[in-house]
């Protein structure tokens, strides 16, 4: 069974494609990490999945249905939340408002409120700054807020673009542990794009390596972590 199935995906900004024939599957309750050097096309992949970019070719199926032509704002309602690169906190809104925004499409207000409280529990730093505007936060605090906001939507698949960027090691570790827990407890699936290869592989079930827009390796995370040959070949350490 798969939650997300990507086949033969081709994406480009102009004429020349940036992603070539990418295949990828994410089963439920699984963390799949996408690794690759700068410019490999990781962000492009996530933006295509959430509908911000239109693919040139290939199929994306989520939970059995095709995502082709589904507008961005409806994708999240299907259970797919995307935390974009560069934080995506609405700087002019307060922390509280940003979090409310995460559940704004949900009919169940009570549950949305509950989800917000859970986020404050997860990130006490945010709880202390409910009324602060997004732009007053430190870089890392914004990262926490963006992640927390996505969790408020109670997604079934979470697309994370470099969540550890700007986060202290301790918070990074906490977040990774949290993702693991959510996967195991709630069946959440995660597509995790990371530069921080080590911490990504420490929690992931599977790893996919992108290079110049092509999938060059796909394997169990443990295998990527432990096989020095693979690591050297694709991850440079």
């Amino acid at each position: 069974m798969t939650l997300l199935q990507v086949a033969g995906l081709v994406v480009g900004y102009g004429a020349a494609p940036v992603l070539h024939e990418v295949d990828l599957t994410v089963p439920p309750a699984t963390i799949v990490t996408v690794l690759g050097a700068n410019g490999a096309g990781k962000t492009t992949l996530l933006r295509t999945l959430s509908g911000l970019l239109r693919p040139i070719g290939g199929t994306i199926r989520f939970d059995g249905g095709s995502l082709a032509g589904v507008p961005v704002e409806r994708v999240v309602r299907l259970g797919l939340a995307h935390v974009p690169e560069g934080r995506g906190v609405v700087a002019e809104l307060t922390v509280e408002e940003n979090l409310r925004l995460g559940g704004v499409w949900q009919a169940d207000r009570r549950d949305a409120r509950l989800a917000q409280d859970e986020v404050y529990e997860l990130f006490p730093a945010l709880a202390a700054r409910r009324r602060h505007a997004g732009h007053q936060l430190s870089g890392g605090e914004r990262q926490m807020l963006a992640l927390g906001r996505a969790l408020v939507a109670r997604p079934r698949l979470l697309l994370l673009d470099e969540p550890s960027l700007g986060l202290a090691p301790r918070i990074t570790a906490q977040i990774m542990a949290l993702l693991r827990r959510l996967c195991d407890e709630t069946g959440l699936a995660v597509l995790l794009v990371e530069q921080n290869v080590r911490s990504a592989l420490s929690v992931a079930d599977q790893g996919v390596v992108l290079s110049l827009g092509r999938v060059v390796a796909a394997a169990d995370a443990a295998q990527l972590r432990d096989d020095a040959g693979l690591r050297h070949a694709y991850l440079g350490f």
Binding site: V72, V76, A91, E97
Partner: protein, 292 residues
């Protein structure tokens, strides 16, 4: 002293109509982050619609409803047909398109109705209620003040209490992120324009009777005063728009009363400078953004 009282009351009455229109300016700023220079012309168009309906039916209130309805339609239409396609490469693009719209709307209205003044009715008497020899607010002034008050309360509620308000703001600030969060940005933009144009229509209905008459250019100066009012208040704040509107009304009234009518535009400039040099983001500005 009587004179001071008179000028104050008169300034407040005139300021209230500026406030009404300033609210429309604030609304579109909050919904789309643009200063809509076409707002005056759009409001005039809706008042012409009201004029036609009132002429045909003889009812002020039917015309009033027509103004609001045509505001909604015009606002939504302009967003759908024109503004949506303006590229966002520079915020100036939409300013220029709005100026183009002003010319177009005024020309169309001029061609349809002729470039002459047309009378507009008021639903209530404009004769001031005289207290101790001083004519104070008229019923119409009270109607205007009441309408402005109601409007500002409703807008404040919309923005602070409802999720639509939150969505509108986030859509204006960060369209892409908002879409990722399930916010229908395009729809909200249309809604914002429609709403702002309807508020503009309401303001137009309140303002035009206090002007020379209905003419394609009636709102030109009103727009300038109201934009000034909105800036004085801090463009983001409905309360600020009202305070700014009343401040502009008072300054114009005092200046005309004590210094001579010639001085009024200079007085407006002085007010604007005095406020902005102390608070560069207007009276009710939000917090200054963290630079780094």
């Amino acid at each position: 002293m009587d004179r001071f009282l008179f000028l104050t009351v008169d300034g407040l009455a005139k300021g209230a109509v500026y406030a009404a229109f300033a609210l429309a300016v604030v609304l579109i700023w909050r919904a789309a982050r643009i200063v809509n220079f076409a707002q005056g012309a759009m409001a005039v168009a809706t008042v012409y619609a009201a004029y036609s309906v009132t002429q045909a039916t003889g009812s002020y209130w039917l015309g009033f409803a027509a103004a609001l309805a045509s505001g909604l339609v015009l606002g939504a239409g302009i967003e759908r047909v024109v503004m949506r396609f303006v590229p966002h490469t520079s915020p100036l693009n939409s300013v220029i398109v709005a100026l183009g719209l002003v010319l177009l709307l005024q020309a169309v209205l001029g061609a349809l109705y002729g470039n002459e003044f047309r009378p507009v009715e008021t639903p209530f008497s404009r004769t001031g209620i005289t207290v101790g020899g001083v004519a104070l607010l008229s019923r119409y002034d009270l109607f205007v003040l009441g309408a402005v008050l109601l409007l500002v309360v409703l807008l404040a509620l919309l923005f602070t209490r409802t999720s639509t308000g939150l969505r509108m703001r986030s859509a204006a600030f960060a369209p892409e992120v908002s879409r990722l969060l399930g916010v229908n940005v395009a729809g909200l933009l249309t809604f914002g324009w429609a709403l702002a144009a309807a508020v503009g229509a309401l303001a137009g209905m309140l303002v035009v009777p206090t002007e020379l008459g209905l003419h394609p250019n009636t709102m030109d100066m009103v727009f300038v005063s109201s934009f000034t009012a909105a800036v004085v208040g801090g463009l983001d704040s409905p309360i600020g728009a009202v305070v700014g509107g009343l401040a502009v009304g008072l300054v114009l009234s005092y200046a005309a009363g004590y210094l001579g009518s010639d001085v009024t535009p200079i007085a407006t400039l002085a007010l604007l400078l005095a406020v902005l040099l102390i608070r560069p983001g207007g009276l009710f500005a939000g917090v200054r953004t963290r630079a780094v």
